[in-house]
């Protein structure tokens, strides 16, 4: 199934279509059940599909495992292995067609080609780019024998042929081919961004769903004179990153919740020693080992508040696959400019899903570390207390820049001190950097009405669905808007508050049972007591566009209520 999805997606990307592909697996590493959903559109899309228009099932038992996460369109077209009888009423006007996938594939000379047969039919029925798919099949099996390639192409044509028997004109996709697009995952985009930002040292320990970043950088960093170290654990990974950065080289690690928890102490060291460090944290279901293969937004509080002591750090969230690139470069820029640890919060649904992107969007300005001037190196104070809190840096190898630092409280020269006066002053200095940072990077997105009756607050991977929900609701004439902070620590508080104050009803939607986003917002902004509606649930299932629309609808009556008395008063 997954292979077929790749072929289909790549082919559509070649013809400039917009594609979002997600995969799901059972607990088994190999030979287990898997599912792959591909959303294809002629226009820009921001979320995986809510409703499935066309479904290919080789085994209904496997389908059952994913059924709870797959909703069929009322008139869904369903192709299934003929000799495996489908369950009752899958969808009201569903068109259910049994196809002898296995046997046909075998007869057409590609025993394991049933999925190719499937995409042949789907492609013909939906009117997808046949030629590009052929090319994609050839590329896919390039390393195999000519016979294999031939066989699969034959099976594909066979599929097109069988499709003729299916009558579903309504399902045809209308589009005109455009420029080829890139097709990549959020993790790949983060890795590419690291290299773009100038990262030349990566240290990491594998963990689902972030390992693709390690894989990519272990291949590419050596090609550009960088290095990659797979460490013994996350304690060593973040330690090596702090070391590499101390040595003057932009450094990064990538992990997921369990690893992030283990990095807590070292991030505190980076904070007090003021050493840039970038951690890409790809969230998964928690707590503990939780659900490693699924998405959740429950590492937020740990990211913004985790670690003992008063520990300034920056946290930047990732709104979509393309944003994985921008957020990661931003993270390096912020880390280098403000000399602190920066956590990039992505999640499984962004990190491991793939989407089509215009090649030219993967560009972003790069900022470098503020190196000490010769003047500053005279009686050098590594932790000079400046108006912005940002001090001049020297790095090993710079003559005259020598200093001795530590994780103890220290004075401007970096010398340990247990005095209250020094501690208070240096806390002030370190936190002052966050003010400068907030001013320079008020990162957020805003969608929808300028005078919203309902305002939605969300963050991260739910942004795409929220954005589509806002579009749909606006189309219905409902005045709704969404505010999405991208910089989470420090939060652009003034902007968030202004947005809240501009709405009648506030909807907060998040994938954290404990309402982490809502609680975090409360620490910095005021939410109207009886006009704030929190929709928080566990992760493990994507937040759907219809789900958000229902959330907004459920608060609309209140808006009405509010209107009447106002009318009276007027």
């Amino acid at each position: 199934a997954v292979a077929a999805g790749d072929i289909l997606s790549m082919a559509c990307a070649r013809d400039g279509l917009h594609v979002i592909k997600t995969e799901a697996y059972g607990p088994q590493i190999r030979g287990g059940e898997s599912s792959c959903t591909v959303r294809i559109s002629a226009n820009d899309i921001h979320a995986q599909a809510d409703l499935i228009d066309a479904l290919v099932v080789f085994n209904w038992a496997d389908f059952a495992r994913f059924a709870s996460e797959l909703t069929l369109a009322p008139d869904a077209l369903i192709l299934h292995e003929a000799n495996d009888t489908p369950p009752e009423n899958l969808a009201p006007q569903a068109q259910v067609i049994g196809v002898p996938f296995t046997t046909t594939a075998r007869e057409s000379g590609a025993p394991s080609g049933k999925n190719i047969l499937g995409i042949g039919m789907i492609a013909a029925i939906l009117g997808l780019p046949i030629e590009s798919i052929r090319a994609a099949i050839q590329r896919r099996f390039a390393k195999k024998t000519a016979a294999v390639i031939e066989g699969n192409l034959k099976v594909f044509d066979k599929g097109i042929e069988l499709a003729a028997l299916v009558d579903a004109p309504s399902k045809k996709l209308q589009y005109t081919a455009g420029e080829p697009r890139l097709f990549m995952s959020g993790n790949e985009a983060s890795a590419v961004a690291a290299i773009e930002a100038g990262c030349r040292f990566f240290a990491g320990y594998p963990i689902t769903p972030s390992s693709e970043i390690l894989h990519f950088l272990s291949e590419w960093l050596p090609r550009i004179g960088g290095s990659c170290l797979q460490t013994e654990d996350e304690l060593a990974a973040i330690g090596a990153v702090v070391g590499g950065s101390f040595a003057g080289v932009k450094s990064m690690t990538a992990t997921s919740g369990p690893g992030l928890s283990l990095m807590s102490e070292m991030l505190g060291l980076a904070s007090i020693a003021e050493i840039p460090a970038v951690v890409v944290n790809v969230q998964r279901g928690g707590p503990s080992t939780g659900i490693p293969t699924k998405s959740e937004q429950s590492d937020l509080m740990h990211s913004v508040f985790g670690g003992h002591g008063d520990m300034p750090r920056a946290v930047i969230s990732v709104c979509d696959i393309e944003d994985s690139f921008h957020a990661t470069v931003d993270a390096f820029n912020i880390a280098e400019e403000f000399q602190l640890p920066v956590i990039v919060l992505s999640d499984q649904s962004i990190g491991q899903s793939k989407q089509t992107l215009a090649a030219n969007v993967l560009v972003h300005d790069v900022v470098d570390r503020r190196v000490a001037t010769p003047e500053e190196l005279k009686d050098f104070k590594r932790y000079l207390d400046t108006p912005t809190g940002i001090s001049p840096v020297s790095t090993p190898g710079m003559s005259g820049g020598m200093f001795q630092t530590n994780g103890l409280e220290h004075d401007e020269k970096g010398r340990p001190s247990a005095m209250y006066s020094v501690h208070e002053r240096m806390n002030e200095k370190r936190y002052r950097k966050l003010d400068a940072l907030a001013k320079k990077y008020p990162l957020f997105r805003r969608y929808g009405a300028t005078k919203p009756e309902v305002g939605i607050l969300c963050w991260g991977s739910t942004t795409g669905a929220v954005r589509e929900a806002v579009d749909k609701l606006s189309a219905e004439g409902i005045a709704v808007a969404a505010f999405v902070p991208r910089l989470l620590m420090p939060l652009p508080a003034a902007e968030v508050q202004a947005f809240i104050d501009s709405c009648r009803e506030v909807v907060i939607t998040e994938l954290s049972y404990a309402k982490q986003f809502t609680q975090y917002l409360r620490t910095v902004v005021d939410l109207p007591r009886n006009h704030t509606h929190v929709f928080a649930r566990s992760g493990g299932k994507a937040l759907g566009v219809r789900e958000i629309i229902d959330q907004v609808r459920s608060v609309l009556p209140k808006v009405a209520d509010v209107e009447i008395p106002e009318g009276v008063l007027a």
Binding site: M10, A11, A13, R14, S132, A135, A136, Q138, R139, P180, R181, L182, F183, M184, E188, I195, E196, R200, F201, A203, W220, P222, R223, I224, S227, L229, T231, E232, D233, L235, A236, G239, A240, V241, V242, G243, G244, S245, F246, A247, G248, V249, E265, L269, A273, A359, L362, P396, G397, M398, S399, G400, M402, F403, Q404, T405, N406, G407, L408, P416
Partner: protein
């Protein structure tokens, strides 16, 4: 590298917080001398430590210095070296720092033959936290945390280092500044991971006599010792009643930096480095 460096070159004006008589003073003085002997360019040298009395040492050395987290000196030192292979990297710390909380990093940093020198100041106790048993504390010893006597047999850091795959392993005694300086010189000059365990008495928690007692136990290497043999080296560890000092073991094998350079070669050879376009090609459906 300039040639006119003296021990003074590496001294700064910060007064050590160590107790009068602490063995670490001897280690610090040996390091000043060894840095001068090896003509280490101060600004190309980084001394990294963990947390402990001994780990305060980088604060007193006029090079780049980093007194980091308890147990994490080696990962940080590894990062420094891999990011900037031209630097001389020296990690220092205590026995607790390196073998208790830091034990796993000791294993893997040694195993990778990481290009750095690791100096362990071994006082068989947790000094900074006021006298609890360390993994090196002899069995039976009474400490703040083992008032009925330490139930665990103390480990010999050199034996561990050899088993971990360290390519250079030696033992010194802080009371012997001359000998220790010489061992430090060799350690710094060794290509790869060099481990130097220095017995450095804690007069406060191990008693004022620890110094005398150890001095009485110290022995030079047996004349016939073959320090290319792990087996014979291991026989000079975990000894009873005597402490053999000198280079117990050494071999020469590819270092981590060698491997990194080799990988770069395999990846790119002498080809032009790839462009962004090259990197993005795999995501482009251009077929």
């Amino acid at each position: 590298m300039s040639a006119c460096y003296t021990p003074q070159t590496y001294k700064n004006d910060l007064k050590p917080v160590w107790c009068p008589g602490c063995g670490d003073f001897g280690v610090l003085n040996s390091l000043y001398k060894a840095l001068a002997d090896t003509k280490c360019e101060p600004h190309d040298t980084v001394v990294v430590s963990g947390i402990g009395c001994s780990s305060r040492l980088p604060g007193y050395v006029e090079t780049y210095g980093f007194n980091s987290l308890h147990g994490r000196a080696l990962p940080i030192a590894t990062g420094v070296k891999l990011a900037s292979p031209g630097l001389n990297v020296i990690a220092v710390g205590g026995d607790g720092d390196g073998i208790a909380i830091g034990g796993n990093h000791f294993l893997h940093t040694a195993r990778r033959n990481t290009d750095l020198t690791y100096i362990m100041m071994d006082n068989e106790i947790y000094g900074l936290t006021k006298g609890q048993a360390a993994p090196t504390t002899p069995i039976g010893d009474k400490t703040k945390s083992t008032i009925y006597g330490n139930p665990e047999a103390g480990v010999d850091p050199c034996a561990l280092a050899i088993s971990f795959g360290a390519s250079w392993v030696a033992r010194g005694f802080s009371g012997d500044v001359k000998g220790t300086t010489e061992l430090m010189r060799l350690a710094i000059e060794h290509k790869g991971f060099s481990f130097l365990n220095i017995i450095s008495p804690c007069v406060t928690w191990r008693g004022d006599d620890q110094h005398k007692e150890i001095r009485a136990k110290v022995r030079p290497l047996p004349a016939d010792h073959d320090n290319n043999s792990r087996e014979s080296a291991l026989r000079l560890t975990n000894e009873n009643g005597i402490v053999t000092t000198g280079v117990l073991y050494q071999n020469s094998q590819p270092t981590l930096v060698d491997e990194i350079l080799d990988i770069r070669w395999k990846a790119q050879g002498d080809k032009q480095p790839p462009t962004k376009k090259d990197m993005l090609r795999q995501f482009a459906p251009a077929f």
